[in-house]
Each structure stands twice: as C-alpha cells, then as structure tokens.
Symmetry: C2
Subunit: 496 residues, 2 copies
C-alpha cells in the first residue's frame, strides 16, 4: 500500500508569523469594553479622536524609535512601487506629529487628541512580548502651560478609576526634567557625555537604590552577578545634589518642594521646574485630586532622559505574586510627559506637547488580577435539532429568543448524534439547551435544560437535594419559551 503513494503536496503552515498572536471572544470584548470606558473619559475631558493609518512613510516616521538610537531598526518597513520606503507605525506619537504638521492650520490650537490602536515593533519576541500590541494615547499639542500636564494627570486618575482600579490602588506620580537639569547645573556637570552618564545612572535608581546610585556616580559598584560596573567618576560632593533630588520625596508636597530647592541650589532652570511642579500640585488640589491620587515624586525617573518638562507615571500599588510566588507591586501601567519639539522636524517650528500612553495589555492584566473584569461572556442558548425536517420550527424558536434580546442559536452541525449537540453546547458555555422532539411538538411543549446547573451539580455532590428541588431539565409550554428561558438564565446568574 505504501508504494506509489502520490508525492505529498507541500502545505502551508497554519501559524501566525513569529511574535504575533490571535485574540478570541472574551479577550476582544473585554479590551473593547475597557477602551470604550477610556474613550468616554477622554471625550469628557475635551479630547477628540484621531485615527491615522497603520502605514506611514519612513521619512515621516523618522528613522529612530523615540527611546533607542539604532537607525531604522525596530520597524517593519518595505519599499513602495516608487521605491519610497513605507513602514508600520511603531507608536501613536510619530503619526500625531505628522498629522499636526499637515493640518496645523485647520486644527484647533491647542489640539487635544486621543488615539487607540495597534502599533508594531520589529523586535525579538519573548514571553508576553508581542510584535503587535495596543496603545492608547492622549496628547495636548500647542499648550505651553503646565496646566495641560496637570490635566492629563487628572484624566489618568479618572481613567484608572473608571475602568475599575479603586482609589488607593494606584498613584499618579509627577516629576520634572527641568529640576534634574537644575541639579546638573548645581553639580556643574556641563559635558554632554557626562550628563548622559548621569542620566543612565539615575535610570538605575529603581533597581539599585540610593547607595547603588551613589557608588555608580562615584568609582563604581560590584553588581549582583559579581561583575564590577565602572562609575561615572564624580566626587561625593558632586554626586550629592543628584541623591538629594532622588530622595527629596517628603510627607507632603511643600516639604518635597523645599527639599528640591536645596538640591538645585541657585539654578534658574531648576527653580522654574520646581515652580512648575508647585503649579501642578496647586491645580490638582483645586480640581479635588489629593496626593493619594496624584503626587509630586522626584524618584520617578522613567522617561526623564526623553522628556523636556513634567514627567508622569501611573503605578498600581496593590501586590500580586510574581512567577516565583513572591509578592511585588503590580507596577506601571501608563506614562508620559512633555516633549517640546513635536513637529519641528516637519515645520522648523517648535510646538509644545504633552501626553500620556496607557499600556492597554498591562492594564487589562491588572483588571483581571483584581477580578474587576466583569466578564459579560455568556454562551448562547442552543436550540437543538431533533428532527432535521423541522428546521423551520427550530429557526422560529431561535428568532423569538433573539428578538427578545437573548443570545441564541440553532445547532448547525450534523444533528444525527444528539450527544454531539450537547457537547457543542457545553463547549459554548451555553446556559440553556432547548429540545423539541416529535412528541413534544405534537403536545405543544418543549424541554429546556439548565446546562449551567447541570455543570454545577456534576461538580458539587453535596447539592443533590438542590438537584431535586431544581431539576436541570423541565417541560414547558411552547408559548412560554422566551419567558421560561429568561427565568432559567436569571436563576443561573443568581446562583452561578
């Protein structure tokens, strides 16, 4: 039999490209529901939607990702028929810059816009790291005042509470790049390369703490792996203002600001930055956003290298267990800040902008962790097919149920094996199956079967009495179909 077998045809592999994935049913619905809630908040704040295409010219995107300096890496790009390079957007800020430059004479000024959608990164995928993921951004373009930064921090606070993170389980922390610039002035670090070294060191504050930063700013440090990391080579006196800056957080904002004034010495830039933080704090208080929701915190270092003014970050403060079972805080779900030359590449003019990006997938993960995702996943009522010559009768039942707003379907597979129909209903997490054989039809009745109860009963032996009190299957009048199915689903919801 094995002889003369025809050559096997090469079949395509049924797989997505490496680093891409599919989202099914409830995952899609949950994300859409969360994005709709965020949209509602952004809209209430006066932000307008913008949806640009997934594709931009490489020229318009710029050759650099905002936070890496490898030219033309990190994006999916290809050549047009005219040899022009096009690429998938890697974030939502670069398209905003192009759109604002293109339509600046028609758009209101300031322009508040939000955007939600996938972005693409041509990077090595890893566990939980995909090459397509959602971003959700809000930016205010053309507003020089830090009132715009304050507004975005308030909006971030409202957004988190709206999607289901309770007050007290998050904090929006605010810092300012200008204060750091003032610190560098006070340290008399003017060399650009040395400034960059200091910034890189500050970025490690979260990981190595105060002593670690002190060592790294000085002669260096032995890291956990035993390797020796060379330091920046500053004297202890020179390093002091940076450490004062990073550790200036005090019990209240007034004290924090006083500490910062010490840290920047007489630097004008630093004082401007501190006044901006003070203004932000005052606006927060005026809006009713206390320090439990939005707080001045100079230990926020993420993005300080990239942004030019206020920097903000939303952190979830409740604890979860990590992969190794250790408790840790959930951490950051959104971040942003002020970047004052959004469209300069296009127009030559600096236009101030400030904005935030929410990590949609991380925020969804947090909501699932908190059990705050009120899953609306409800399988359909399945009308089974006992007699394939009476599809019209079954179709009529389905149409009645649907018209009453009940999710329902007729079984569409081969109806021969009735067991397969119930297996299908189980797989769909169907709450109720409807059964009408010839006898029932003749008598004007149908059977309805409580599948959710059935599943509970088979899981919980001790509820055998309940089983008798609430039989999982009952006969009802055909005319009562909608009312009885609705009752059964409601009973399920109560007890489920």
């Amino acid at each position: 039999m094995a002889r003369n077998r025809p050559p096997k045809q090469q079949r395509p592999k049924a797989l997505p490209p490496k680093g891409f994935r599919d989202y099914f049913g409830p995952e899609v619905a949950e994300r859409n529901a969360m994005l709709a809630q965020i949209t509602e908040v952004y809209h209430r704040y006066g932000f307008d939607a913008l949806e640009s295409a997934a594709v931009e010219t490489v020229e318009a995107l710029g050759k650099f990702l905002p936070d890496v300096d490898r030219p033309n890496e990190g994006v999916f790009a290809w050549q047009d028929e005219d040899d022009a390079w096009m690429a998938l957007r890697y974030d939502l800020t670069a398209p905003l810059a192009r759109v604002y430059a293109q339509f600046r004479n028609d758009l209101p000024s300031p322009y508040r816009r939000y955007a939600m959608g996938p972005v693409w990164r041509n990077e090595k995928p890893g566990p939980g790291r995909y090459r397509q993921f959602y971003q959700c951004d809000a930016d205010t373009v053309g507003a020089p005042s830090v009132a715009a930064d304050a507004e975005i921090c308030m909006m971030l606070s409202d957004t988190l509470e709206t999607v289901g993170i309770p007050r007290g389980d998050y904090i929006v922390r605010v810092n300012n790049r200008k204060v750091l610039n003032g610190v560098l002035e006070a340290m008399n670090v003017t060399d650009a390369a040395q400034q960059a070294d200091v910034l890189r060191t500050i970025d490690k504050f979260d990981k190595v703490g105060e002593d670690g930063v002190r060592q790294l700013l000085g002669r260096g440090r032995l890291d956990a792996s035993g390797a020796y990391i060379d330091g920046v080579g500053l004297s202890d006196d020179q390093a002091e203002p940076v450490l004062a800056f990073l550790t200036s957080k005090a019990a209240d904002a007034a004290k924090t600001l006083a500490n910062l004034r010490d840290a920047v010495g007489g630097s004008d830039t630093g004082l401007v930055g501190i006044n901006e933080l003070e203004t932000i704090g005052d606006l927060m208080a005026a809006g009713g956003y206390g320090a439990k929701r939005v707080d001045i915190d100079p230990s926020v270092v993420r993005g300080l290298g990239y942004y030019t003014g206020p920097v903000y970050e939303a952190e979830l403060t409740f604890e979860i267990l990590d992969d190794k079972g250790r408790k840790r805080q959930f951490g950051s779900v959104a971040g942003g800040g002020r970047y004052d030359d959004l469209v300069k590449r296009f127009t030559g003019q600096a236009v101030p902008a400030t904005g935030v990006s929410i990590g949609v997938d991380r925020l969804l993960a947090a909501l699932r962790e908190k059990g705050r995702m009120n899953s609306t996943a409800q399988g359909p009522v399945v009308v089974t097919v006992m007699d394939r010559n009476r599809l019209g009768d079954y179709q009529a039942m389905v149409a009645e149920l649907r018209s009453a707003g009940i999710r329902a379907e007729m079984y569409m597979g081969n109806p021969k094996n009735f067991g397969n129909q119930l297996k299908y209903a189980d797989k769909r997490e169907s709450p109720v199956a409807v059964i009408e054989g010839g006898d029932e039809h003749a008598n004007g009745v149908v059977q309805i079967k409580d599948l959710a109860l059935g599943a509970r009963l088979s899981a919980e032996i001790e509820t055998a009495e309940e089983w008798k009190a609430q039989p999982a299957q009952m006969e009802i009048k055909r005319g009562d179909l909608v009312a009885e199915v609705r009752k059964m689903i409601a009973r399920n919801a109560e007890q489920g």
Copy 2:
C-alpha cells in the same frame, strides 16, 4: 541678506503615504458606534469575536487575492530577518482560514466568528478608494446546512435595521451558484474556458441587461463607446437557459423557483441548488423574515464566480443623487456566500463555510445620506482664562463640570488675547463659554455665554426678539454653575 544663507535642511513631508488617510473626531466616533451596534447583533446571534494580527506569513495568506488571479500582487509584503515573507492581510477571510486550521481541535464546531478591522490592498488608489479600509465579517465554519446561510441573511437584515436603515429601504437578495451550474449543464457547456466566458458575461448583466447578455453570449455587441465586443459564440438555443435563469425572478418565491426548475432542465446539481433556495426561503418565513427583507433573486450575479453555493447581497434601495445630479439607487453595502474549501490548503480536508462582509465605509456613507447618523458630536464647554494667576479657580470649575458628566475644558492656549479664546471655542463647536473676571470672582458670580445661540442669532436676523428674551450671555451664581450650564445646553439641544 540673501548671501551666505545657511543651506536649507531637507525636511520630511508631512503627508501620509499615497492612498492612506486620517480620520478625525466624529468620523471615528460614528464608525465605532456603528461597529458596536453590529457587534451587539452578531453577539446575539451566537457569533464570537476573533481578532487576528494585521500581519500574516505570505505562505499562510496564499499568493492570490480571492477574486483576482495575479500572483502576489495587491498585498503589502516584506521579508523578515529570516528572509521569510510577511504581508498585511488583504481581507479577514484568509486569516480566518489560518486560525481555523491552527485551532480546529479547540474551537467549537460549527465555529461562528465575527471580525472587524482594517485590511490593506496594494492597489492604485483613486477617488474614495483607499489602500487601508475597514471590513466587518461574520462567518460560520463547519456547517454544511444552508440553515447557516439563511441565518447570515437574517442577521444581515437585523444588522441593517439596527444601525438605522429602515425596513423597506434595503433588501437582502439570495441566489445560488449550484443553480447556475445546473444551467451550464442544461446548456451542455462543459469546457472550463467556455464556462468562464459565460460567467464573465453574466457578471455584466447588471450593466448591459438582458439583450446585452444575449448578444454577448452569441456573436457579440457594440458597446456604448462604439467598440465591438466579441461574443462567446453560443447559439440562441444554448444561451436561452442562462437568460431564463437571470430573468426568472417572479412576484413570489414559488413562481421564481418554478421558473428556475424550467431553466435547469433535468440537471441534478441545478435541482439541489433550487431545493437549497427553497429551504432558505422556508427558514426565512419561519423566522418571520418576509420577502420584503430577504428575497430569492436569481439576478444577483456578484460573486457567483467565486462562491460554491448560496450567494447573498444586501442592497440599499433608496435613491440618492450621483455626482452628476442623476437619481440612482444607493446599491450594495454587503455581500457574501458559501465557499466550501476554506482550510483545505492547510489541512487537506474540505471544511464548509459561509459568511458575509459588510462594507463599513459604504454603510456609513449611506447612514449619513439618510441623516440617520445621530451625531453625538458635541464640543466641550470652554472655561476661559481671564486671569492667569487664578488657573486653580478655573480648573475647579472644569473639574465640577466633568464630574457632572459635562464635556468641558479650561482654555490652554496663551490667554492674553480673549478674542482668541472665543475663536477657539467656536472652532471646537463649544455650546457654552464660562467667563469669570476679577469683579465676578469678588461677587461670587460667573458669566455663561450661549455660543450655539450666538451662532444661530448671527445667522438668523429675524430672531432678534428671541435674542432679547433669551440673552446669549447671562450672569449666574458661581454655586449654580453646573445646573445653569446644563440648562443652557439642554435649551440649545431643543432649539438647535
């Protein structure tokens, strides 16, 4: 002065790639609202969401667009770092085939799924023809019965009514490729090339009508431009069944089916197809979907070449004026049918599938045409800045309004020129401006200005008396801000 000017730096052009466009504010909101309505219907019918990535391997996509036969054209493709080809999806069916083949052991069978999102075509753009556009699909995979086709036709009818196309303004028309195959058998046209010629000719029925098709099936025809189009070369007798098929639509379904039986003669395939149409008609009637909503219509020819069984199309029947001011029907907004080898490329097994694709942009255009898009576009209340030292006071007002669910913002531009603040409010289509100068602040009052009324008054001179009765600007107590702004917006909505 012109001498020694520094060389001008080359700036990137602020334009999207050719054939791509941006969507602003209300356009995005309207589309999202419509897609949410469609989602609700699809969900009620038991369909589950699927969101695959924008990118697939070229191997998985297949080298052909479904309805053209140019290899590898029409898609945006590029090579991965491993030299593997990837491409942007050109529709939502090819990814469904890949997903179903990949997960077929875990998915319920039959699998009902819907998908919504952008697709990309590397084709020459034209007026209203973009290289990225939305599709919105629903398919049932693994259901051989035409009950699945009937269900999709009912769902299409419900969807159109749900988004705002009234009954009577649309018709879902159903045809069947098998009937056409029966006609070809009856004509004794067995040669594949000649069959393709006949199909191509049938595709022109909408344009050239019965006589045109008769000529094109025979010796040929002089077209409107004066060019002579060669015919297929069939005799009049041979051509007759095709014409009988295309013109078999009668006053009721029974008569139409009888006409079709004549057209297919004794062909078994043809009779199977006619019985399928009859079953679909019976299921429609059982579900309460009369011929005014879903109708058997053998003159539907779009897609007959591609599909293998029932074919359906939703047409909007109300008239609009075309570019030249002539009345014409709005036309097709959705189409689909049965294609019975969805995953064969991947698995070697034929799996039956049937599904529909809604043209999202055309349906949106239709709703705008009908004035059915209840535009929720409402600009924000603008709290103006009279005194930049009291930003906190203005911020407090904005926060109060937002907490009450009113869309509101503080003016964020340079507050120096008050006229610019009102111009900004106009541009935002703001309903109300709030003004609080030093005197007002001292007296515990604010001014609120009805900008919508102001705009109406300046447009309609005759309402000068109304102007006095309803002054466009009024002084209110600071404590009444939310209540009075809400009243002003409501009055606007009534009179707007």
